[in-house]
């Protein structure tokens, strides 16, 4: 059996999306900035895409900027708020400890330029307390940026409430919704969101295209300077095929949120219950405030990479930590942020189901994980120390998950 269960890393482009993109490679290939027909046709499709995306998010077309992906959107949101803030002497930004690196590394770059960064706690359950955001807001706070759903443990944050606080305190609020947009109903107006990032490849669209929403009135700064595309705020000939792909994929994803959640919720429950049977394991992140596709566990006594490589041999594609840090030896900053000690953080597994996951697949995943864990533990000196009592367990042998 082959099960791709790393949809939080990226997804396959759907056939419908590929078909929708094809004409924009070879037929409507004109530059949308060109005045002749094949250019204007491209321009029309570009603006129609913008309208569709805006409608889905509850925004105005003028508030939608197409970017090269989630990372660029995050960078541009933060840099824009930082530049505008700095002009008014506001050089403080609030974020959280378990943001994606596209946010955290941008904030680090700003720190070098004299910004002060406050990272709020994400607690053991991986859910931020809005009160802590409220307490962290200062006179000189230029931006609050909090992700909508975490990419590793899938926990959903109280975004509307954080947005409400920011509105009240007149601080701009950005949310990285890359992992949430296809799982949660999002409306920027109703949820008090000033800026929002999404990325097509997380919901069966192509890689290399994303969206930044910025509420009208908030000044947008360029990350990429040059031509007058995107109202002068994002230079570069528009990737129209990609933008069409994003739009079609987004329409599909959002239209099916409820159906997908209904299908996935019992599978998620089955997966969690199944993996909990493995002794000395624990679910990472809140059981309920999480996207229905995500299950993330820590297992004592084993290391994540060997776990996932052996699962790969069994046809199960999953990850340990997030994809973009898998070259690194550091344990996941997300798991450390929710208080997992290093030695357990090394033994983590992220499963992110696709919408077409089946019970059979879930059972196969459970069986495979259990087998591999047992095998790896059979010659792990760390595990030996744990069961012999030479080292102390972090987890209970079994934990009921309600």
């Amino acid at each position: 059996m082959f099960v791709y269960a790393d949809n939080a890393a990226t997804t396959a482009v759907s056939k419908k999306v590929v078909d929708a993109m094809l004409p924009y490679f070879t037929e409507v290939y004109g530059n949308p900035s060109s005045l002749y027909s094949v250019g204007q046709k491209a321009k029309e499709v570009l603006e129609e895409s913008r309208e569709k995306v805006a409608a889905i998010l509850g925004a105005k077309p003028r508030e939608i900027y197409f970017t090269s992906g989630g990372s660029e959107a995050d960078n541009q949101a933060i840099m824009s708020a930082a530049k505008a803030g700095a002009k008014k002497g506001k050089k403080h930004i609030i974020s959280s400890k378990f943001e994606h690196h596209a946010v955290l590394h941008t904030l680090q770059a700003l720190e070098k330029e004299g910004f002060e960064i406050t990272l709020v706690d994400v607690h053991e359950n991986g859910v931020i307390d809005p009160k802590e955001i409220e307490d962290a807001i200062r006179e000189d706070t230029a931006l609050v940026t909090i992700m909508y759903a975490n990419n590793e443990i899938g926990t959903i944050q109280p975004i509307a409430e954080i947005g409400r606080i920011c509105r009240e305190k007149k601080v701009w609020f950005h949310t990285d919704a890359v992992q949430a947009i296809s799982h949660v109903h999002i409306n920027v107006e109703e949820q008090n969101i000033d800026m929002l990032s999404i990325s097509a490849h997380k919901f069966h669209g192509p890689k290399g295209v994303g969206v930044l929403y910025v509420k009208g009135g908030i000044p947008v700064s360029n990350v990429i300077y040059g031509g007058a595309q995107e109202r002068g705020k994002r230079a570069g000939t528009e990737n129209l095929a990609g933008i069409v792909g994003l739009t079609v994929a987004l329409e599909d994803a959002v239209a099916n949120i409820d159906a997908n959640n209904e299908h996935l919720a019992p599978l998620q429950e089955r997966l969690i219950q199944g993996l909990s049977q493995i002794p000395y394991s624990e679910l990472n992140g809140d059981r309920h405030a999480r996207v229905t596709s995500n299950v993330n566990f820590c297992f004592e006594g084993i290391e994540g990479e060997s776990l996932l490589l052996l699962l790969d041999d069994k046809g199960v594609a999953v990850s340990s930590g997030s994809a973009c840090t898998s070259g690194s030896l550091d344990p996941s900053h997300v798991l450390l942020a929710i208080g997992r000690p290093h030695e357990v953080a090394h033994g983590s597994l992220r499963i992110s189901l696709g919408e077409d996951a089946t019970e059979e697949q879930v059972d196969y995943i459970i069986k495979s994980v259990a087998e591999v864990i047992e095998y790896l533990r059979s010659f792990s000196p760390f595990w030996g120390d744990l069961i012999s009592g030479k080292r102390n367990h972090v987890f209970a042998e079994h934990k009921e998950i309600a």
Binding site: G301, G327, E343, H346, P381
Partner: protein, 145 residues
């Protein structure tokens, strides 16, 4: 271009000499769980100071397991003095290379064997040159400490 060479994958998937030697003459353990890898080497050494048997246990990533496996193969049946000469470079080469950020796994393997030999020397009051047993590397590689 793949993550690991075929050799590494082979030793990872089918590790040689896995297990414990209950009445080992020398046991060495290096690494720690905080860094994400621990290697434990068991040596059975005969009167001629030949390694009659070697087994390992490893907690760690694919290349840690493969490095342990390869290291045990490289010293099996060899005189202890020769095992002491085993370098991380030899382990890496025998594995057809390791990714740069995984080289420390081969270092761990070298250290684990040295540590087991030292244990054997200590237990049997055999004199040795301390220069052969450098300090264990610190936890730099995993940035935690």
């Amino acid at each position: 271009m793949a993550l690991y060479s075929e050799k590494v994958m082979d030793h990872f998937r089918n590790p040689r000499n896995v297990g414990v030697i209950e009445d080992a003459d020398g046991v060495g353990e290096v690494g720690n769980p905080v860094c994400g890898d621990i290697m434990k080497i068991y040596l059975k050494i005969n009167d001629q100071q030949i390694i009659d048997d070697v087994k390992f246990e490893t907690f760690g990533c694919g290349s840690a397991i493969a490095s342990s496996s390869m290291a045990t193969e490289l010293i099996m049946g060899k005189p202890v003095s020769e095992a002491l000469q085993l370098t991380n470079k030899a382990v890496t080469e025998a594995l057809d290379g390791l990714p740069p950020h995984k080289l420390h796994c081969s270092v761990l393997a070298e250290e684990a064997i040295k540590s087991a030999v030292k244990d054997y020397y200590d237990k049997n009051d055999i004199e040795y040159d301390p220069a052969d047993f450098p300090e264990e590397h610190d936890c730099e590689a995993c940035h935690v400490n």
